[in-house]
């Protein structure tokens, strides 16, 4: 077991190093000189040379890379040359925003998706199903940026019920946090809600024709007990799998939502860093993301090996 763990840890470390190399080389392959971007309007060759010297941009790439890795290994992600703020601090501010948005969006998606999915399955070939299908189709086909704009126009400008922008942490003021996140989370969650609806409907249709449901009905259980207690409960396995698979897509999709609702999240931080060629910031956010993915994968693999011993002894997982 310990040999397997060691092997997976080494593999993960190698993956992480490769990820840092790809990111480091990739952002430097982008056209656009970071020194020129930093210099802004007042650029002249002497200024550019001074900026390159200050931030070590005039050194050979391998030297720059090693310096970056050396610092990162000690937890120092550096400072943004643009704002002078520590990268780790900026990421520390941004991550909770995106996580709270994502969790809220998933909650909304699950509520909307399962609700409409159950209705569509139970009320098959009736107006309720057509309505649910229409909602799902809209959720899948309407782009976030348009839906977001419309939501702002309707709920923040025409009927000023919700704020158009900004973020309040749920730990500071739960009510204000709810008001600030309701619109962006709904906008972000509708696409996922549509997918969950389709999956729930499909799984429910299978379940409702299964033998155990017929048995439950034969035992005299009420319709609600059969649908919610038996059919839906078994269908939720599919839903949970879908939510897990869509989580990454949801966080990626948060980039647009964050820009639209001016949420200082991870996506906004990344996009702005790319446009300003803020190398330490881009490297920092990618390093944190890659580390998170690799650690999660590692933990999952190790858990698999605990559950199924065949995995850790190298045999094929059947």
């Amino acid at each position: 077991m310990s040999r397997y763990v060691l092997r997976r840890v080494v593999e993960s470390a190698v993956t992480l190093i490769l990820a840092t190399i790809v990111v480091f080389a990739g952002i430097r392959a982008l056209p656009g000189d970071p020194a020129r971007t930093l210099a802004g309007e007042e650029s002249d060759p002497a200024t550019l040379a001074a900026i390159r010297a200050t931030y070590g941009l005039d050194e050979p790439l391998p030297v720059q890379y090693l310096r970056y890795v050396q610092k990162a290994a000690t937890g120092d992600l550096g400072r943004s040359p643009r704002t002078g703020l520590p990268v780790a601090e900026s990421i520390g501010h941004a991550l909770p925003v995106t996580l709270q948005l994502a969790v809220f969006a998933i909650a909304i998606a699950v509520l909307m998706g399962i609700g409409t999915g159950v209705v569509a399955a139970v009320r098959r070939r009736r107006p309720a199903e057509w309505g649910a299908n229409a909602i799902a189709l809209l959720g899948l086909s309407v782009p976030n940026f348009w839906f977001g704009q419309m939501a702002i126009l309707a709920l923040a400008i025409a009927y000023p019920l919700l704020p158009a922008s900004g973020f309040v942490s749920v730990f500071e003021d739960p009510v204000e946090s709810f008001r600030h996140l309701l619109m962006p989370a709904t906008v972000l969650g509708t696409g996922l809600a549509a997918i969950i609806m389709r999956q729930t409907r499909s799984a429910m249709l299978d379940a409702l024709t299964a033998d155990y449901v017929r048995t439950a009905r034969a035992k005299g259980l009420s319709s609600a007990q059969v649908v919610l207690g038996h059919a839906l409960r078994n269908s939720l396995i599919v839903v949970i799998t879908v939510v897990g698979l869509q989580l990454g897509a949801l966080i990626s999709g948060a980039v647009v939502t964050e820009q639209l609702f001016v949420l200082p999240g991870f996506g906004k931080l990344t996009i702005d860093a790319v446009f300003t060629r803020d190398y330490p910031m881009i490297q920092g956010v990618v390093l944190v993301t890659a580390t998170a993915y690799i650690v999660i994968n590692l933990v999952v693999d190790l858990l698999y090996s605990v559950i199924d011993p065949r995995i850790r002894v190298g045999g094929p997982a059947l």
């Binding site: 656009g32 650029s43 002497a46 002078g84 900026s90 501010h93 931080l269 300003t276």
Partner: protein
Amino acid sequence: MPNTSLTIRCATMGLLLTACTPIGPGETNPSTTVDNRPAREGGTLRVALSAEPDRLDPTVARTLVGRTVFNAICEKLYDVDSKLTIVPQLASALPEFSADGLTITIKLRAGVKFADGTPMDATAVKTSLDRHRTLPGSARTSELTSVDSVQVVDSATIAIKMKTPFAPLTAVLADRAGMVMSPAALTAQGENFGTSPVCVGPFKFGSRIAQDRIEVVKDPQYYDASKVHLAGVTYKIIADANTRFNNLRSGDVDVLDGVAATDVDALKSTSGLSLIASDSLGYQGITINLGNVDGVGKAPKPLSAPYASPLATDKRVRQAFELSLNREAINQVVFRGQFTPACGPISAASPFSSDAAQACPKHDPNAAKALLAQAGLSLPVKVSVVIGNTPDARRLGEAIQAQAKEGGFELELQPVEFAASLTQTDAGRYQTFQIGWSGRVDPDGNIANFVRTNGSQNISGYSNLAVDALLDEARRTPDTAKRRDLYGQVITKLHDDVPLIYLYRQKNLTGASSKVVGVQVYGDGLLRFATAGFAA
């Protein structure tokens, strides 16, 4: 009287620059303020900025939005008033120049304290100026190259010793180079001064979250604190113009910096909102690569393919290109008439403006074709233009493309992301480039670096020794009227050589809730909140 000299200059400009029309000062709008209703005490103003400011360290800061934030927290030795005239701020009077222009004496305002309570005196000014001049990575070094040393005369007086006379220095000290920082804070924070800057201002730095907000709060130590009404200002960073506007409409922000030209009509028609508009000091135009082969600042050389073009070698072709463009139509079609057509680098709102500075070749596509025929070129003349990849930049590019076609040109638009376009054109890898400049109070800052031989921002590779001589003379001349005339002569020569085609001047468009009073925006485009507040 003005038009006599103008006509003579126009006649010398070239065969077909027959119709020069000045853009009259009557069209200018030097400054505006929301209104003068009384303000109540307290309240935090929420301001939407269009971009993230860079470091809040006056020595290394470079962005325009950063200057707006500095305006609240870091006062300068000098400032401009609503007419863009330089006035004392932390200095007590305008500088005294010695007869040879090599010593400048500046007297300081008495009894001023930094936000940390330490005194703002001559030693602090010397510390700041020396830091601006010598700190590695300073963005102010090039602005202060003519300064030899700074001496403390007494606690309220400094003397600046110059290597050469440099008239624009007063204007330089009315920008970030004139900001005075607390020596105690500089010692304590070193290179991280920008994460918690301490200066003199109506407000002092509170906190900052990257990509989100900067908060400043009223400074009770401020020498004019009794006139400051607001408890604080929160600058929110909202890059997208549409989102910014929506936030103003929804009441989530009180003031909006940088209203899109396309949103002006909607803003004007929305009750509870008002527009503050002022002419900017900057310009937008098309820079033509005449000989930038080895990179900006290097000696010009003949271009080779694919960047060589008849534009680079024959000024008649450049004149034809300029004649084919209809500035007023561009303004109407692309910017809904919100901006000001411009033909030179000096705003009509500037005290340095003159008829010569505002002279403008008239749109004449037939004359353009005649010039191209005279140059022996077969039509259409193919030209590539590097433009930005934003919707506004593309619309502008397409308008220019359509107009140039009538004048005998076939334009190939090359949309490039902004950061990449700067690197590409600095290196000389372009034929023409649509780019602008945010503008400075002194015309030297809007002209010299761009057209002087080997100038630090002369990406055109333009070189005209007569222009260099006029610019040098203007730098040595303290008299405004004489400098006005010298810059007029420079612009006349630029219209003849056409190293760049000035197209339009943006307006500083600021949106504000009608609850807000006393916001001031001058031609420099900076938002001033020292006396702003919420209506009583």
